[in-house]
């Protein structure tokens, strides 16, 4: 940290990795989900991301082959924050290139122990919380034919997304190998998970109540005195049917019923009930 490097463009004084490599990794990280396959998921894109670093650190063909093979292993993480892993494994690769004692196997060990929790936090934050909030706001705008709907949707998601993606890469390199312990000790991961879950679940609850539609057409009484049963139900509990349908779906998913099966079943039941004149 104290010695000054001869070139100012490296990411830190005692690193060989240049600012150019850093940005190259950043832009390549955008492609993480593009070659997703069932066997090793994001492995090909991950190796592509690491390529500038591998090229910088290793000149020997054998070292390059080993590094490429390392990063072609299984990878599954939320694409938006994958840069944290790239930073960490980049810093570890640098340590590996510099230090003969360094165990190269620990690079993949750290990668695989981090990708699970990171995907947990990232998926619930991006696909759960942020996407749901963005859709909620955008749908109400789009319903009125307002062009701001899609624009607001993209902004709500992508402003935090690109800021986080950059910060993650930066922090990843900085913290490097020792990062794993730090994060484990301070309990940041569990705090972020809790916060994201609370916020996400409240929004999901609210959206379920206002976006699932069902009204019972059954009338109580006869002739002029007939009143819709739905009116009585609404007085006791508004959004009673949305709540019921939500619970049924939740229960079915818990029974490992596939969503395609539920969807087809639901449509079949609704058509059947419509044919009988119940709904």
């Amino acid at each position: 940290m104290t010695t000054n490097s001869k070139k100012a463009i490296t990411i830190s004084p005692d690193s060989q990795i240049t600012k150019k490599d850093f940005y190259s990794c950043f832009f390549r990280s955008l492609t993480l989900d593009s070659s997703w396959n069932y066997e090793r998921m994001q492995n090909l894109a991950y190796a592509y991301m690491m390529a500038p670093i591998i090229r910088r650190l290793y000149t020997d063909e054998k070292d390059r082959a080993e590094a490429l093979q390392r990063h072609l292993e299984f990878m599954s993480v939320t694409p938006h924050i994958c840069t944290l892993l790239v930073g960490i494994s980049g810093a570890m690769e640098e340590e590996n290139a510099r230090n003969d004692e360094f165990d190269a196997a620990s690079i993949n060990a750290v990668k695989s122990s981090l990708m699970g929790p990171m995907a947990g936090v990232g998926d619930s934050f991006f696909w759960g919380t942020l996407k749901v909030i963005a859709a909620g706001v955008a749908i109400s705008l789009s319903n009125q034919g307002n062009i701001m709907g899609p624009i607001v949707f993209l902004l709500i998601i992508n402003v935090p997304h690109f800021v986080l993606r950059y910060i993650c890469l930066d922090k990843g390199f900085q913290l490097g190998a020792k990062f794993f312990n730090d994060l484990g000790n301070s309990g940041i991961i569990s705090k972020i998970t809790t916060a994201a879950s609370i916020l996400g679940l409240m929004v999901i609850g609210g959206m379920a109540a206002s976006n699932i539609y069902f009204e019972l057409p059954i009338q109580i009484g006869s002739g002029d005195f007939a009143e819709p049963l739905q009116g009585y139900i609404d007085q006791i509990m508004p959004a009673f049917f949305p709540a019921m349908f939500f619970l049924i779906m939740y229960w079915l998913l818990g029974k490992k019923v596939k969503t395609t099966t539920i969807l087809i079943g639901l449509i079949a039941v609704c058509i059947l009930l419509a044919a009988m004149g119940v709904v």
């Binding site: 492609t31 592509y48 938006h80 909620g136 949707f153 997304h161 999901i204």
Partner: protein
């Protein structure tokens, strides 16, 4: 005219599928894609409104780990194009979008099990030789190539499918479309349940209920609930921090 439209539809589809090549920015969502279809077919406003409807239908469709959602890009594009060009009811967009999306998911799955797995095996061979350029080239070709294939599938569906689907729709009796109408109102429940499944633990159930009841009884908007959620998170973290500090103190001394 149709050729030009098909070409534009292919471009939109390619643009939408490229979302995973430019940062998973979610610009492939129906709420963005349907307005684009509206724009090229000359009815932006309908496109925007359709986007809102279809976004709700595909609420729970997102990739998590190893599960892949129905191809809502294909579903949204073909269904929106159909509804805009024929002036049909919005319900028809929902009815078309879901089966089309499920159908195209089959093609997605073939790509991800066969083509892209094969690509990563090719990359393995380059890696063995330490050929960095080879691995990079494989990723670029595979990553963009599968989008081109899918975009062409959507274009073909638009070109062949719409008059074809129209003919079939004419034979559908009333109770079927009414039943589907009812189903369309309930379908979002699946998406919300999927999202909840991902996050719910016993401790977290009250927060789901809180959001639901706030909307059901007090009719607070989603944004309002999200802002209240922030307050709840802060309160929750404050309380849990206090109790944790006490416990840690006990352990240390």
């Amino acid at each position: 005219m149709q050729i030009t439209q098909t070409f534009l539809i292919i471009l939109i589809a390619f643009f939408a599928y490229m979302h995973s090549y430019v940062g998973s920015t979610m610009h492939n969502r129906p709420i963005v894609v349907a307005p684009l279809v509206g724009l090229v077919l000359g009815d932006l406003e309908t496109g925007i409104k359709l986007g809102a409807t279809l976004e709700l239908v595909f609420m729970g469709a997102f990739p998590i780990g190893a599960s892949n959602p129905p191809d809502f890009v294909a579903g949204s594009i073909i269904a929106s194009a159909y509804v805009i060009t024929t002036g049909q009811d919005f319900t028809n967009a929902v009815l078309l979008a879901v089966p089309i999306a499920t159908l195209v998911l089959l093609i997605d799955n073939v790509q991800m099990t066969v083509l892209l797995t094969w690509a990563s095996h090719i990359a393995d061979k380059f890696a063995l030789k330490g050929d960095i350029k080879g691995v990079e080239r494989t990723q670029i070709i595979a990553g963009i190539g599968n989008k081109i294939i899918l975009a062409c599938v959507v274009g073909l569906g638009f070109y062949l499918g719409v008059p074809f689907i129209e003919k079939i729709l004419a034979y559908i009796p009333d109770y079927v479309s009414h039943g589907l109408d009812v189903a369309a109102g309930i379908i979002p429940a699946i998406g919300f349940a999927m999202l909840a499944r991902m996050m719910v633990t016993k401790k977290m159930v009250p927060f789901l209920l809180l959001g639901f009841l706030l909307a059901a009884y007090m009719e607070i908007t989603v944004v309002g609930i999200a802002l209240m959620g922030v307050v709840v998170v802060l309160i929750y973290l404050n309380f849990t921090n206090e109790s944790k500090e006490v416990v840690e103190d006990d352990n240390e001394f």
